[in-house]
Structure formats: C-alpha cells, structure tokens
C-alpha cells in the first residue's frame, strides 16, 4: 500500500498500512466501548431483579474475584512489557512475555468458568431471572473476548516463529496489545460496578 517505508520509529508505524490498521483498531475499540456500555446499561436497569434466584451478595466470593482481577491486571502488565521488548527488537522477550500473558489469560478464563459452574449449581443461570441473564451476558461477553484474545495470541506466536519481527508482525502484536489492555479496562468496570457493588448493596 505504501511506496515509502520509514527508516526510524517503531516497526509497526513505519508503513502507511501499519499506521492505518492501528488507527482502524482504535475506531473498533471505540465501538467496543459502546457495545459493553449497552450491556452495562442493561445490567444496571435489571439490578436487583433476581426473582426466586439467589442474590449476587450471596454468591459472589471476594477471594475468587481478587484472584481473577490480579491475574488479568498482571496479564495486562506483561502484555505491555512484551510490546516494550518488541520495540527494543527482542523477539525472545516478546515471545516469552506474550506466553506469560497467554497463561495468565487462560488462568483467568479457568476461574471464570469455575465461577459460572458454581453459580449454576447454586441456582443462578441465564434462565433463572432477569438479573442473572444480564449478569451472564455482561460477564460472558467479556469472557468470550478473552477467549478470542487467547486464540489470537496463539496464532500470532506461531506466525512470529515462522516470519520473525517484520513491520507486519509487529503491527499485529501492537494491535493485540491494545485489545488485551482494553479487555482489562472493561474488567475494571465489571469488577467495580458488578462485583463490588453487588457485594455491598
């Protein structure tokens, strides 16, 4: 797409294609904010309407919540380090930190699945009440994004071993980095407005 390639600056910004892709991804993230906002709005409106199902205060566990939150926070940090290593030109650093990110993401997902199964056993499922429908839709959509991210990182790591660090692969890693940090931003709001408020009220 671009006839001239810059010789300085981070690899992912050197071609016009790279710059435009990153720009486009920011627009996508803007749309993702709105997607999650609709789910948060639904949740807020349906808050408290648990019908005959248990209330969130009875089911939410502070311990599991803190483990999940720290896992995702740390994975966001390691992902940032991975991109930092990439900009230093270190393929090994990028790969290793991305694998750490991947494992933390998998750990988070494991806890979330365990959590959902536990809730279902206690009688809180997608069908049991308006409140729990909105809860599972919101948390589930976030979990689905994490799952997608894990698959995406895995594929990119394979590509990295095959092609090495090029303007194309580094642009792809930069974009997945943005995606991963964004998932953490969404989780901060789920952590606060769903879990903490659910346990307080």
């Amino acid at each position: 797409m671009s006839s001239h390639e810059l010789k300085t600056g981070p690899l992912e910004y050197r071609t016009e294609e790279g710059r435009l892709t990153i720009l486009g991804f920011w627009i996508f993230l803007g749309a993702e904010i709105v997607l999650f906002a609709t789910l948060f709005a639904t949740y807020a409106v349906l808050f408290g309407r648990t019908a005959d199902a248990p209330s969130p205060g009875e089911l939410f566990e502070a311990k599991t919540l803190m483990i999940m939150t720290f896992m995702l926070l740390t994975s966001s940090f390691t992902c940032g380090i991975a991109i930092h290593e990439m900009r230093r030109g270190s393929v090994k650093g990028l790969r290793n930190w991305m694998i750490v990110t991947l494992l933390l993401g998998l750990g988070f997902l494991g806890f979330e699945i365990y959590e959902f199964i536990h809730y279902a056993h206690e009688g809180a499922t997608l069908q049991s009440s308006a409140y729990w429908s909105s809860f599972f839709t919101l948390a589930g959509t976030h979990g689905l994004h994490v799952t997608l991210g894990i698959g995406w990182v895995t594929l990119l790591l394979i590509q990295l071993t095959q092609r090495g660090l090029t303007p194309k692969t580094s642009r792809k890693f930069f974009v997945i980095g943005l995606y991963w940090h964004f998932l953490d931003v969404v989780w901060i709001f789920i952590f606060t407005s769903v879990y903490l408020i659910g346990m307080v009220v």
Binding site: Y13, I27, I33, A41, S76, I188, F189, F191, L196, V201
Partner: protein, 129 residues
C-alpha cells in the same frame, strides 16, 4: 521515541503498581470500610475511572507521537466514554428512577410519592443508582 532503547520499562512498572494499589483500595472500601453505600459506590467508581486512565495512558500509549500525538485514539476513547455514560445514565434515568418495580401504584402520575415509597420499601434497588 527515546524510550525504545530503555531496558527497564519504568512507566509500565509504575502503572502496574498503581493499578494493583487502586484495586486493593477499592476492594477494601467496598468490603471492609464503614463508609455508607452511597459513598462506597461514588468512591469505587472514581477509582475505576482513574484505573482505566492508567491503562489507556501508561499501557496503551494513547498519546504517542507516532499516532499523530494520539489525536484519533484519544478522540475515540473520549467519545466512547461519553456515549457509555449517556447509555448507562440514560437507561437508568428512563427505566428506573422514580418508579418502583412492584406495580402496585399509579405509576407515572405519582413519581415523587413512588420514589419515597420505594426508597423505604426496597432501598436495595435504588441505592445502586
């Protein structure tokens, strides 16, 4: 960018410790402190917004020179945030405020009365707003 060659990513480490601290403060405020529910909610929502800012500016490089000083990323995030606020606050305003959920009153004619009524009857439903 000068920090590409830096070995230690100072900004990321500071951001990480800040977000861990903010998370712990929020959890403490919600679960251990004696604050009233209203202040807990205001406080932890403020902490969440600060933490989102840390992610955006310290981890996601919203404003780095390579992305034209972050003009478009910043705009996307800012307007996304504005829309999110309108969506959530607007939904609560139209769907919840001034109405109780038990369908035993005359509804919209007696909003104020309903509000008082519902505050007494089911304070749990309204304190979340």
């Amino acid at each position: 960018m000068t920090d590409h060659k830096k070995r230690i990513p100072t900004q990321h480490i500071i951001g990480f410790f800040l977000s861990i601290t903010l998370t712990l403060v929020a959890a403490w405020a919600a679960l251990q402190s004696d604050l009233s529910v209203r202040w807990i909610i205001i406080g932890i929502m403020a902490l969440a917004i600060i933490q989102a800012g840390i992610q955006l500016f310290m981890f996601m490089h919203v404003v780095e020179p390579e992305s034209q000083g972050g003009h478009i990323p910043w705009n996307m995030m800012f307007h996304g945030g504005v829309l999110a606020t309108i969506l959530v606050a607007g939904s609560l305003f139209t769907m919840s405020f001034g109405f109780s959920h038990d369908h035993d009153g005359d509804g919209h004619n007696q909003q104020e009365q309903q509000e008082e009524h519902s505050e007494m009857e089911d304070s749990t439903e309204h304190s979340g707003h």
